[in-house]
């Protein structure tokens, strides 16, 4: 039996992790911990979890602790967790900076505990299928990759005080919040080993980016180099997906589970839709289950898996580089931008 503790009683825990963990017979959730004890208590009652705490220091020992709190507030918590020698499974994004990345990974290594990152899109059937297909390169070398995701921010249902309104808590705006998924998807599918950011532009208000446009290049593990363009937005509705242009075909990968991989000609005509031979996760819950399975196996075997934290290095570094080098246009009342220069 694997004992799990959950730090953070927010939406992703209530809507995704708990429903999945509740159905896993080999797992017991021992406690939920949140700085708002009442939130932890309510969620514990709902799911029949025995412990509800306000601080990790109060919590009993477990095998794995899920860290599902804002990324900007994780240092002390992860430090305490590894000190107690619990394995750590972090919700995305993994870290706000490469400095924090190294801190977390080295802290875990020093205590000989496993540390993982929950990036469930890696398990989507279309993602797995695209990665396999590109590895075998039946379509010719990859030449360009374009990725975009966004929709105009509408009713959030959230009050002020929500972590995404606070740069220190969230680590940034749409680039880190959504980009940590989309950019990781691109890097995983293509098997990227290096990147270069040529330009990054951001539209910001009060230190939060609402739209980020990046152009650059990536080098793949097979030595291929290709052009990269990424747009993320909370200001505009965008096409949400990844388009991979090869010598004689285009592959289009969605960002929503269950979207089949599309194979198109260079004019965009869809030639077919494919799934992987073994049929991978098609829904969010299936993807969450798959990532938990993978991490639990990693903890048992001690061998790195698809959710090892080490695999989050490139995405963390890319996002940090973008924030550091971005030229910024402020959203202001007149509607005309005032270029602020680099951050």
């Amino acid at each position: 039996m694997v004992n799990i503790g959950i730090v953070g009683a927010g939406a992703v825990v209530e809507s995704n992790h708990l429903p999945v963990l509740h159905g896993m017979k080999e797992v017991t959730v021992k406690w939920i911990c949140d700085i708002e004890r009442e939130k932890a208590r309510q969620l514990s009652r709902l799911y029949g979890v025995k412990g509800a705490y306000a601080g990790v220091e109060e919590c009993s020992d477990v095998d794995i602790a899920l860290v599902a709190i804002p990324v900007g507030h994780r240092r002390k918590i992860v430090e305490e967790i590894v000190r107690r020698r619990w394995h750590v499974f972090c919700e995305k994004p993994f870290a706000v900076s490469t400095r924090d990345y190294h801190f977390f990974v080295e802290a875990a290594r020093a205590r000989n505990v496993q540390i993982g990152i929950g990036l469930m899109r890696r398990f989507y059937d279309a993602n797995v299928c695209a990665r396999e297909m590109l590895r075998r390169a039946p379509f010719g070398a990859v030449q360009e990759v374009w990725a975009s995701e966004g929709s105009r921010l509408r009713a959030t249902g959230r009050e002020d005080g929500w972590y995404q309104t606070d740069r220190n808590a969230a680590g940034g705006g749409v680039l880190i919040e959504t980009g940590s998924h989309l950019i990781d998807q691109v890097f995983q599918i293509l098997d990227v080993c290096e990147f270069e950011v040529v330009s990054c532009r951001q539209r910001m208000w009060r230190d939060l980016d609402y739209e980020t446009t990046v152009t650059g290049a990536v080098r793949l593990n097979d030595g291929t180099e290709c052009r990269l363009g990424v747009v993320l937005s909370r200001a505009n509705d965008l096409f949400s997906g990844i388009e991979i242009r090869c010598a004689n075909t285009k592959l289009v990968v969605g960002v929503v589970p269950g979207t089949p991989l599309k194979i198109c000609d260079l004019d965009g005509q869809v030639l077919g839709r494919v799934g992987s031979p073994r049929g991978g996760p098609q829904t969010s819950y299936q993807a969450f289950y798959a990532e938990w399975r993978e991490f639990i196996d990693q903890c048992r075997s001690g061998q790195p898996s698809r959710v090892s934290a080490e695999s989050a290095w490139l995405t963390t570094s890319f996002i940090e580089t973008c924030y550091r080098t971005a030229s910024v246009v402020e959203i202001d009342r007149a509607g005309c931008g005032v270029v602020r220069g680099q951050c």
Binding site: R152, G157, D160, G229, L238, F239
Partner: protein
């Protein structure tokens, strides 16, 4: 200068109204939203942006007490009971504002039902058939009562389906034009009950500028009513896409009969029928879920006369064939939305300025720009660094 407060300015309609009315020279617009993340996007509207919740009276006063007119677009959603209490609270707080002389409550065409049948639903006695429609009707009544008690004039607007850049209906039409989502019943001859976003803003602006408007309930749709074909063709002509396909008349008639019959049966009757259908499917589900049952059946058949086995085999293969064909049909054609088969909303409509020539060009340009960004990725590649 008239001061207009918009609640829920972060939502689809609220943000559109804030953007359009915020540029009106004769209005000072206060746009409220609940958090500073949403407020960031409202900076470009030209409105005064205030962040806070109007669920509690003291905060509602702080945000909106200086406004002459309130356009209430905010709607709490989520847990049914909790959101009803929040919605009622917001309405009561708005009716209590000191300087406010007019509250405009945005209701919905949904109060008439998802497939309006003018024989069964009326302006005076609308018959919603969805949870959303029932809540909207309930809140209309709360708003009317709250305003009447306080002597505040009200205008309840039953807003039709809004289309334009960023609106869900436009996305739907685009999907239909791309062949991804069905065809137009009766070749789109039925009234749409739709309103283009700039016309909605224009109509609301006219209402706001009317001196001492009487308390009223009005439907809001394009005036005169546009048909579904006109709505779709406006999109496809602007975006240079092929026209949305027409559904054959016989198929249209069949769907209309089914959808209207279903919509106006009481919820309890629909629940009973669906439960019976589910119970009928249980034996089949049991057989499919139990490999042991199949094994037991085969052992029994091995001892049975040949005629029994061939009859059972025939039953099995005909059921399997019917099931697979049904699945294929379901995959090929989704049930079309009931609102494509509606009659026009009954009752009086809100008048308002038709879109000026300039607006038409601007709205079309905005639609093209919006579509380019959602259709694909080519526009990124074209961006200069």
């Amino acid at each position: 200068m008239l001061k207009v407060g918009i609640t829920g300015a972060g939502g689809q309609i609220g943000s559109m109204l804030a953007t359009t009315l915020g540029q009106a020279p004769n209005l000072q617009v206060v746009a409220t939203c609940r958090n500073s993340l949403t407020a960031g996007l409202l900076q470009e509207t030209g409105c005064v942006v205030r962040v806070g919740s109007i669920v509690e009276e003291q905060f509602a006063r702080r945000l909106l007490d200086d406004c002459d007119v309130i356009i209430h677009c905010a709607l709490a959603s989520g847990d049914a009971r909790k959101s009803r209490l929040l919605n009622e609270s917001m309405i009561h707080n708005l009716a209590r504002l000191t300087d406010t002389t007019l509250v405009i409550y945005l209701s919905s065409v949904a109060v008439y039902g998802s497939c309006i049948d003018s024989k069964r639903t009326s302006f005076e006695r609308p018959c919603p058939d969805t949870y959303y429609g029932r809540e909207k009707l309930h809140l209309e009544r709360v708003a009317i009562r709250a305003c009447a008690e306080r002597g505040v004039r009200y205008c309840v607007l039953r807003v039709g389906h809004v289309y334009g850049p960023g609106q869900w209906l436009s996305r739907r039409v685009v999907d239909m034009a791309e062949g991804a989502l069905g065809s137009l019943p009766y070749d789109g001859r039925l009234p749409s009950n739709a309103i283009r976003s700039d016309r909605l803003a224009s109509a609301v602006n006219s209402l706001v500028m009317t001196p001492d408007p009487a308390s009223q309930i009005r439907n809001v749709a394009d005036v005169p009513q546009t048909t579904w074909r006109q709505v779709c063709d406006w999109h496809t002509d602007t975006l240079k896409m092929p026209a949305v396909a027409a559904m054959p008349a016989a198929e249209s008639g069949a769907w209309k009969r089914v959808l209207r019959r279903d919509r106006f049966r009481p919820l309890s009757a629909r629940l009973l029928q669906e439960s019976v259908e589910w119970l009928r499917s249980l034996p089949r589900q049991y057989a499919a879920a139990c490999p042991s049952l199949r094994e037991a059946g085969l052992c029994l058949l091995a001892r049975s006369p040949l005629t029994v086995e061939s009859r059972l085999k025939k039953l099995y293969v005909t059921l399997a064939a019917a099931r697979e064909i049904e699945r294929m049909r379901e995959a090929a054609s989704d049930t079309p939305p009931a609102w494509l088969f509606s009659d026009a909303m009954p009752g009086p409509y809100l008048g308002g300025a038709a879109a000026e020539r300039g607006d038409e060009t601007r709205v079309q340009a905005d639609l093209v720009k919006w579509y380019e960004r959602i259709a694909g990725i080519e526009w990124i590649a074209a961006q200069k660094t």
